[in-house]
């Protein structure tokens, strides 16, 4: 709810600019807002579809997904790893501030075109000082547009995190990979990541080994030593798959869930935000070929 309510105005704000500039009527402002809402709703719908597609793609395990992910999914499991997030974040606020500047200008322009000169004098910056229309005991009617403007300006200055993204993004520190010698990789912050995901280290480790087709061990400071050379990106990829499979709720997409072992060796993921429960398959290591002669000798 909250995000929808938040998002609509943001987009409608954009649309408003143009409509006001074109028409410059007192009542047009509302009409503009309505249009904006509709448009935003439409765009929402398409966005959701895209997300769904993306998700299905993910399940199919296409190799393309890496490229697609950061763009379309945005809100959920995709940008789980904060590394990708940076781009988005840096972009968004800029665009918004630009929008707001534009809107400010537009509103000011509009006010000038209207009959009330008093409003236009006090328009900019004074909403914080509380002069002009914004004066505490002033009785002049403040147009909806300006109120909206003030709301967003305040929201941006006071709670930038609220304004920047509609839904809380689920962030996980990027995995830190070090190389030990030539053939081993150390996954340093696994315990931190596991804590964030509320999963046991063992479970994640098991998944990692099964997916990467290797083995490894845990060293003294709780770091994971994986046999084989792996880059951070690759580990990130596997973690992402883990999150989709074992962490996110399929119903509400919330990552706030718990993994419990039910009766007869079935594990269930219970969502903490919507309460849905689904069963997940146990991690299975598949066939692994014997690599090298020496390995065979050991066995």
């Amino acid at each position: 709810m909250a995000e929808a309510a938040e998002r609509k105005p943001r987009k409608s704000v954009q649309f408003e600019d143009s409509t006001i500039i074109v028409d410059s009527d007192g009542q047009v402002t509302e009409g503009g807002a309505m249009n904006g809402e509709k448009d935003s709703a439409a765009s929402h719908a398409t966005g959701d579809d895209k997300e769904v597609e993306e998700m299905t793609d993910m399940f199919a395990g296409l190799a393309k997904k890496k490229k697609k992910k950061p763009k379309a999914e945005g809100e959920d499991a995709e940008d789980v790893l904060s590394g990708l997030k940076k781009k988005k974040k840096s972009k968004k606020p800029k665009a918004e501030t630009d929008d707001f500047d534009a809107q400010l200008a537009a509103v000011a322009g509009e006010a000038e075109e209207k009959e009330a000169p008093a409003e236009e004098e006090v328009e900019e910056g004074d909403m914080f000082k509380g002069t002009g229309v914004w004066q505490h005991d002033s009785t002049t009617v403040i147009p909806y547009n300006m109120l909206l403007n003030r709301f967003f300006t305040l929201l941006h200055s006071q709670h930038p995190d609220l304004a920047s993204s509609g839904s809380k993004s689920y962030k996980i520190p990027p995995p830190q990979c070090l190389r030990e010698g030539n053939k081993k990789t150390i996954f340093a912050n696994i315990s931190e990541i596991c804590k964030r995901m509320k999963r046991t280290d063992e479970h994640v480790t098991q998944f990692l080994f099964a997916e990467l087709g290797t083995s490894g061990s845990v060293d003294g400071s709780k770091r994971l030593v994986i046999k084989g050379r792996f880059q951070q990106k690759q580990i990130e990829n596997v973690l992402r798959r883990y999150i989709v499979e074992y962490v996110t709720c399929k119903t509400c997409r919330s990552p706030d869930s718990e993994l419990t072992k039910g009766e007869n060796r079935l594990s269930f993921v219970t969502c903490n935000s919507c309460g849905s429960r689904r069963s997940v398959s146990a991690i299975k290591t598949g066939f692994s070929a014997q690599v090298g002669k020496r390995r065979r000798m050991q066995k």
Partner: protein, 117 residues
Amino acid sequence: MTTDIQNLKSFDPFAEAEDSVGDQKTASQNYIHIRIQQRNGRKTLTTVQGLPKKFDQKKILKVIKKKFACNGTVVTDTEMGEVIQLQGDQRKDVQEFLTDKKEGLGLDAKTIKVHGF
């Protein structure tokens, strides 16, 4: 009328009962797993596990070897059955091959699971 119900009729609970026991086993293991394994250096190994029994693995391997220009073998594992092993990272190729309707096996993409990084 009958045409509507024919859909339902095709699923006869009693007739299926015997089959479903056998089916279940295959259904749960119906996934085709494509895995990758690291070898020494930057060499890798791709394994394809769980191909449907109706296909002749050797023939598939022969086509794959020719098509992807790699070597490979069919390994019989005690648990997993016959597994195709290919040299190099052929995950994408194999997946495309398995789903391709014209020149491949035309399998459903949902039954294929690609593992690895």
